[in-house]
């Protein structure tokens, strides 16, 4: 059980705002779990509940199988990498990393040894005597990491640790951090508002919305099958349509959104006559030349082009809807605004979604 986390119906409010509501989550030892969600959805609060800086109003928090209610932060077997690092400005790099060991009153030789190894781990060997305000953002980040890792906690909590880094360094740190976690076999609870970061690094992602965990799962499962409109939207399903189910036949649900008609593979959740939300990823919509006679294709007009280097997003107006279609750079043909095209929504690309907060 060492390194396992169990949250049962945890809630926390500040005055009128419910920052965390009825969150239940299980994390296995050695797992890399990411809390993903927009700013203000309660990620930091959840992390602080784990670290012991906040006490829950409701529910239970178990770390390594033990209920930690009433346990102050300095007695919990977790360590935190803070969002803005929170390095001690009055101590040098070695002093920062050694802080926790000193609190445990370890012998000086052991401290020196462990600090050296921790700095080695984050590739900062030789920086022992540097003042922290002389470090770059990436280096500070590494010191914060080393400072927490050196105590070999059962669980490491990381609050948007990469948010302040530039894109290149960030990509590099994502890989390093993931490798490190795999090597140490340590439980990581990682917080980010960056979808790609969450998908790249995690074993499991919990998407949070307004204090709740809306959906959790492995990155690929989550990506392939978002279950709610919010999660779909957050994971880049740009085409969200409110539809009415016309009928269901031969495993296909016939849908209608205004004048737009298309079919979806029936997953058993559609009911004739009911209304629901569906989503289609831009890269799953197919774009055909004008006059192509594919069954179920709709006529459309190119309204806008968004060039993104490795791909191009087209905004196409069809049957009164503005739909986004992505084409990879290789497949893309030059098209002008106002050009007539046809587009096709393949039934297997249509995702049935629960509405927002409803789940």
């Amino acid at each position: 059980m060492r390194g396992a986390i169990r949250l049962v119906g945890v809630g926390k409010s500040f005055g009128g705002t419910e920052a965390v509501r009825e969150v239940s989550l299980d994390v296995a030892p050695g797992e890399f779990v990411t809390l993903l969600g927009p700013s203000g959805c309660g990620k930091t609060t959840l992390l602080r509940l784990l670290a012991g800086f906040e006490t829950p109003d409701a529910g239970q928090v178990l770390i390594s199988g033990r209920d930690v209610a009433g346990l102050p932060p300095h007695r919990r077997p977790v360590n935190t990498v803070f969002q803005h690092y929170a390095l001690f400005p009055h101590q040098d790099v070695a002093g920062n990393v050694a802080f926790g060991l000193r609190m445990q009153k370890r012998p000086a030789a052991e401290i020196r040894d462990k600090v050296a190894r921790a700095l080695d781990l984050v590739q900062l060997a030789g920086y022992e005597a540097r003042r922290v305000d002389e470090l770059s953002g990436g280096q500070k980040q590494r010191v914060a990491l080393a400072r927490a890792l050196v105590l070999e906690p059962e669980v490491l909590l990381l609050d948007e640790p990469l948010a302040a880094l530039d894109a290149k360094l960030r990509a590099q740190m994502q890989v390093e951090l993931k490798n490190l976690q795999e090597r140490l076999q340590m439980t990581f609870v990682f917080v980010t508002h960056d979808r790609d970061e969450a998908l790249i690094m995690s074993d499991r992602v919990a998407v949070m919305n307004a204090g709740r965990v809306e959906q959790e799962g492995a990155p690929d499962a989550l990506y392939d099958r978002p279950r709610t409109r919010f999660v779909a939207d957050f994971l880049g399903v740009r085409n969200l349509l409110h539809v009415r189910v016309l009928r269901i036949d031969e495993g296909l649900a016939q849908l209608e959104a205004g004048r737009l008609r298309f079919a979806a593979r029936d997953d058993g959740g559609y009911r004739a006559g009911a209304e629901t939300w569906v989503g289609v990823r831009p890269e799953r919509v197919r774009l055909l030349a004008e006059g192509a006679s594919e069954a179920g294709a709709e006529d459309g007009v190119v309204e806008d082009e968004i060039y993104l280097g490795d791909r191009t997003d087209w905004v196409v107006r069809a049957a009164g809807h503005a739909l986004v279609v992505a084409e990879s750079a290789r497949g893309a043909q030059p098209r002008g605004r106002g050009e007539r095209v046809r587009l096709l929504l393949p039934p297997e690309a249509v995702l049935r979604l629960a509405d927002g907060d409803g789940v």
Binding site: F53, P72, A86, M103
Partner: protein
């Protein structure tokens, strides 16, 4: 640097100059061979050497430093603790409570001073070192709280959380993170507290008692006889020491290695420790002590040493600079003095309030040597409460090469001396001469309102001619050549005449006032018997002569006068001839009219 930058730089330079010019002048003058501040006569360390030999100044410096160190330690600890409490816990109505902490900063010092005296009296705490330290702690705490609080307001709380996260409990978080990060602010608060304590005059003058004359009290009382270069010297040393400490604090704050900070810190502390190393005779445990509360420059240490030797006691001297300070101290009723030195009108006030111990004249055989002209005066009929100690006249001292001979108060109204006239800053003395000049034959103790109003009008007429009203160092202003005629007291002018033969002193023909300072024993004095012994001691002819020789004030002791050298015995300012004595009148307590005097004098001074 761009043009705007250099303009700002120039501005900053001017501001610094404005701030520091007086200090630089003071420091420079402490090396001036001349006593007067007007002339530079060459470089000398003489004042510093003299300072080292001035036991009273050194004792005052020691007292100041002890008070400052102790009160700084306490106010810093308490103030920091209070600031931390506000930081950690949000109190209900916290803002209001915090505002209360800042209150002593904005409340007038005099209000704090008088309320503290009342508090100490209510607690029947003897005024002394303890009450001074308590008062200093009380007023510096606010500053420490405000400074540390400002630092904590900008404090990144996640640093404390990081410490807890890494295994530090609340106390260790405080010690390892919060306090070190606030150290610059705490140090700044401590330095501020130290500076405030070293500087404070108003509050200290109220709550000081036996053995707690601090440097500012000493300096204020010395200023009565002129700003001496010794004062400049002691101020310069103090300034140097505090600058070094500030430099050390600054270096520390910048994160410089301790080695580098140690040098200025050590030097600064060594300078401050100096007075302790030079040492002074401290009262041995169990030794009998006479507590004397007196004006500065009123008795020489040698004279006191004789008394100490003869009676096997230690004399503790504390100083004041106005009768009002003395009255306040005795009225508070917990001052602990054995002998005090009120002027005659203050004796009358103290007598009315029964604050003086009746004298046993049989224990004062030397009273027989005192000139009967000074005995049995209205302020103390039969000398049941006080004996005369010093006296002096009020007159005009003038620079004869500029003015020619002067014999009338009217000279101070002559337009040809416009801008060259100095008047005392004193209601009784100024209105007094205006009364003498009026044709209706009023005296200096007049209480009739109409006469006093006329006197005021006369002073208003004179005002455009007056360069300054000054009763502290009027002799120095005259010596410096800034004025040609000065109203003032004979003792200080006698010393000025020794320095500059161009200066002459006259008691004008219209008459004048004279003052009489007495020695008395306060009611409740710890050792009245020793007090009597001291009173009798100073009336011994040899001793009285010695006091007159060293202090240059006129002695009322007839037998002593005979023992003085001719130069002093016949000095026209110290011992005026009998015809002069016939036209001077003692300033008496005017009772309820005091208020009128003060109001009219305020009107004169505030008139345009």
């Amino acid at each position: 640097m761009n043009r705007r930058g250099s303009g700002l730089g120039l501005f900053a330079l001017l501001v610094y100059l404005f701030l520091y010019a007086p200090i630089l002048v003071l420091a420079a003058l402490s090396f001036n061979e001349s006593r007067s501040s007007a002339l530079w006569e060459g470089f000398t360390f003489a004042w510093y050497l003299k300072l080292l030999q001035n036991a009273q100044v050194m004792q005052a410096l020691r007292t100041s430093l002890i008070v400052a160190f102790v009160s700084t330690v306490f106010s810093t600890v308490l103030g920091t603790a209070a600031a931390l409490a506000f930081h950690r816990h949000r109190f209900r109505r916290g803002a209001a409570i915090e505002a209360l902490f800042a209150l002593p900063i904005v409340v007038p010092e005099i209000v704090i001073a008088s309320s503290m005296v009342l508090l100490f009296a209510a607690l029947s705490l003897r005024l002394g070192l303890l009450t001074v330290v308590l008062a200093h702690v009380a007023f510096s705490i606010s500053y420490v709280v405000v400074v540390v609080r400002a630092r904590l307001a900008g404090f990144d709380r996640t640093l404390e959380e990081a410490a807890m996260d890494l295994g530090a409990g609340p106390w260790r978080t405080l010690w390892t993170v919060t306090l070190p990060l606030c150290a610059p602010a705490i140090l700044a608060g401590a330095l501020l507290a130290f500076a405030l304590s070293i500087d404070d005059y108003v509050i200290t003058s109220f709550v000081a008692g036996v053995g707690s004359t601090t440097l500012p009290l000493q300096i204020y009382s010395m200023v009565r006889s002129g700003v001496s270069p010794e004062i400049n010297a002691v101020s310069t040393l103090l300034l140097l020491a505090t600058s070094l400490l500030l430099l050390a604090a600054h270096l520390l704050e910048r994160g410089k290695p301790a080695r580098l900070c140690a040098a200025p810190a050590g030097l600064g502390l060594a300078l401050l420790a100096g007075p302790f190393l030079i040492g002074g005779p401290a009262a041995a445990a169990g030794e009998k002590v006479l507590n004397l509360y007196i004006w500065s420059n009123y008795i020489a240490p040698e004279t006191l040493a004789k008394f100490e030797a003869r009676h096997g006691v230690k004399v503790n001297v504390d100083l004041y600079d106005s009768n009002e300070a003395l009255l306040a101290k005795l009225q508070a009723g917990n001052a602990n003095y054995d002998v005090v030195c009120p002027s005659n009108y203050a004796v009358a006030i103290l007598a009315r309030q029964e604050l003086l111990h009746p004298l046993d004249l049989t224990a004062l055989p030397n009273l027989a040597h005192v000139d009967p002209a000074f005995l049995d005066r209205p302020h103390d009929p039969g000398n049941r409460l006080s004996i005369p100690y010093f006296w002096g006249t009020t007159g005009i001292a003038y620079r004869k090469s500029r003015t020619g001979p002067i014999d009338s108060w009217a000279a101070l109204w002559e337009p040809r001396f416009k801008g060259r006239i100095l008047m005392l800053d004193d209601a009784r003395e100024t209105l007094g001469i205006a009364l003498l000049l009026s044709r209706d034959g009023h005296g200096v103790n007049e209480t009739d309102e109409r006469a006093l109003r006329q006197a005021k009008e006369l002073l208003l007429v004179q005002k455009p001619l007056v360069r300054t009203y000054n009763s502290a160092d009027f002799d120095q202003v005259l010596l410096a050549g800034d004025v040609w005629l000065a109203q003032g007291w004979s003792g200080q002018f006698a010393r000025a005449m020794d320095e500059d033969p161009d200066i002459e002193y006259v008691v004008p023909k219209e008459g004048s006032s004279f003052f009489l300072d007495s020695l008395a024993i306060p009611r409740g004095a710890p050792n009245p018997a020793l007090g009597h012994a001291f009173l009798d001691f100073v009336m011994e002819p040899e001793i009285a002569a010695e006091i007159c020789m060293t202090m240059r004030y006129s002695t009322p002791n007839r037998a002593a006068r005979a023992l003085l050298p001719a130069a002093i015995r016949d000095h026209p300012a110290i011992f005026p001839p009998p015809d002069v004595m016939n036209r001077v009148e003692l300033l008496e307590d005017v009772g309820d009219a005091t208020v009128l005097y003060d109001r009219l004098w305020t009107e004169v001074k505030s008139a345009r």
